[in-house]
């Protein structure tokens, strides 16, 4: 890819806090006009990386480039990126419009132009009629939109979003997701979005970087991340999965032959080149079919049901004692096996993957 298509380039960034290393040589490229998500559990370094791009954290080693320009060492107020903060950090003594105009005035816009631009951006987030209110007079969702408008007003090269939806309630969060995605398409600005919520990441992102322990585990589209996780961590963190302990018979290129618990041979895609021995097979609960016992990949006993509304989740136990879950769509035609019944489990070919640890 040509370098002018890259908005932000993170190059071998290391961050130490005393003895603790928050980022172990992270490298990734964020493209222009891309919705890019940093996904991971708390403490994985995603927020540290975002703050390093914004300039709130210095980096111990490595470089961060914005459109080819090295940002390393520049203070936050000299970086043409803006942030939407987790708790919004709206200025409480200013009106909504004054909040939105703040960055413009600091950049030297005239008051008249700043007012015009401020009102345009408030229009964009549908808050025009609230311009004269104070932030405390707004609901959480409205405050979130003010924070968004304030960060978008100065037309940043890149917009950084630090878990901006985490303070909203579930229903609101879901509607804001699609709004946010639409806004990103409309403005064409690259968004770097930090979250620990895999559903948010999957629904909004063009690409996701899954992080853990200060390292990038995998970068890819939501589909790649979900369907072709490279290791156990990614498979387990993004969505739900069953990890089966299997014996690896042989590996040839991207395909492995394994022996399932119970002795059935099985062929599946393998994430990376692995040594023969034991490995983990990831099978998503919704990619497992229930059949008659005997000639299926696995035999199992049903130990419980969980009603999830759209789905019904079965807890099953294999003969070696390992526990798995299987999802059935909740419909008229689905027959749900009884607790205690022995069933066969058929893994979908190609959907179960052998993973590196």
């Amino acid at each position: 890819m040509a370098s002018q298509d890259i908005a932000v380039s993170v190059d071998q960034v290391v961050k130490h806090y005393g003895n603790f290393t928050a980022l172990h040589g992270v490298s990734l490229d964020i493209r222009e006009s891309e919705f890019f998500t940093l996904l991971g559990p708390s403490g994985c370094g995603k927020t540290t990386l975002l703050r390093a791009i914004a300039g709130f954290e210095s980096v111990s080693e490595g470089h961060i480039l914005l459109k080819g320009e090295d940002l390393t060492g520049l203070p936050p107020h000299q970086r043409p990126v803006n942030t939407v903060f987790q708790q919004y950090a709206l200025f409480p003594h200013m009106t909504v419009l004054e909040n939105v105009m703040f960055g413009l005035l600091r950049k030297g816009w005239s008051k008249v132009e700043a007012v015009r631009r401020g009102q345009d951006v408030l229009d964009l987030v549908q808050l025009a009629e609230f311009a004269k209110r104070k932030p405390t007079q707004l609901s959480g969702g409205q405050q979130q939109r003010v924070a968004l408008a304030r960060a978008l007003a100065p037309r940043p090269e890149v917009l950084l979003l630090d878990e901006p939806l985490s303070a909203l309630d579930l229903k609101l969060r879901q509607s804001v997701r699609s709004e946010l995605k639409a806004l990103q398409r409309e403005t064409g600005i690259a968004f770097i979005f930090v979250t620990h919520d895999q559903e948010e990441a999957l629904t909004m992102s063009d690409r996701i970087a899954v992080m853990s322990n200060g390292r990038v585990q995998q970068i890819g589209s939501p589909k790649e991340i979900y369907e072709a996780p490279v290791n156990r961590f990614v498979a387990d963190f993004v969505g739900e999965t069953n990890l089966l302990d299997v014996e690896i018979a042989s590996i040839d290129g991207g395909t492995a032959s394994v022996v399932l618990p119970g002795g059935t041979p099985f062929t599946c895609p393998a994430a990376t080149v692995l040594d023969p021995g034991r490995g983990h097979l990831s099978a998503r609960p919704e990619r497992i079919r229930i059949t008659a016992p005997g000639d299926a990949h696995l035999d199992a006993v049903v130990t419980g049901h969980t009603y999830l509304g759209t789905d019904i989740q079965l807890q099953v136990r294999l003969s070696d004692g390992e526990v798995m879950s299987v999802r059935l769509q909740n419909s008229e035609t689905t027959s749900v096996p009884e607790v205690g019944q022995t069933i066969g489990l058929q893994l979908e070919e190609g959907a179960a993957r052998l993973l590196a640890d």
Binding site: G55, F56, H77, L90, F91, G103, R106, P154
Partner: protein, 307 residues
Amino acid sequence: MAAGAPMGAGTSSHIYEGNAPRLMAPSWIFIGFFLLAPVIMMAVYSFLTKEFRGGVIWEFSLAAYDQFFFDRGLFGDEPPSIEWTYIGIFWRSIWQAGLATFVCLLIGFPTAWFIATRDPQSRSIWLFLVTIPYWVNLLIRTVSMKFLIRDTGPLNEFLLQVGVIGEPLGLINTNFAVQLGLFYSYLPFMVLPIYAAVERYDFALSEAAADLYSGAWTTLRLIILPVVKPGIIAGCILVFVPSLGAFLAPDLLGGAKTFMIGSLIEEQFKGNAGNWPFGAAASMILLTIVLCILLVYARNQNKTEIR
């Protein structure tokens, strides 16, 4: 709780509603005895006639206020002209108190900022250190200050010994000495409310400002100061008001040249030589000035709330 209050009906505050006057009674009695009564007594005394050996004669008179504002000559028979002596003392006091407040703010704000930005454990240690001087009586502290800065005191002796100065600085009995006394007496009153405000300050606001192209000084001016303003104003009031009425520091450190309101009032009630109605009148005038300043502040505060 009073009998018959309906339990479980409406909110819990509903239960207390009918009892509000009774529950408020202790505070009203306290305020009445220790605040209203003294002020009313003072107001009444300021309109009485003075007794020569202290005390008052119960006879209505405007003499005290007349003496404060008008000069009628040595025998009181000349046509009245404005008496500048007391107005001058008041003016100088306001100026001194204002300057002391400003100096306290200048030192107190960074101090409070420093303390509020330490980690929580060391914060309490710093706050403790700030309040330590208050374990010693104000009089003792002021006298000690006098001993420290007088011509033969340790400060001058040290500077002479080191050779920085050739002769004692002559600090005692100057405005500077009074300022030093006021500053030392009231600095914690500035530090504590500002500390409380800064401690509540959300530092994400500073980050947001920096993110929006604002340098450190601009952030201080446009974000930090406006947000912690209530603490700053509370600190200024807490320093200004007692500085205005202070008499220990001006008396002990300032001498005759720096005579302030506090000393003027104090003299009227000391021994047998005083003039109680005049002291009361001066107190009433002082009270009025302070009240006016606070009202102007409250007014502005309301305006910014509404805007």
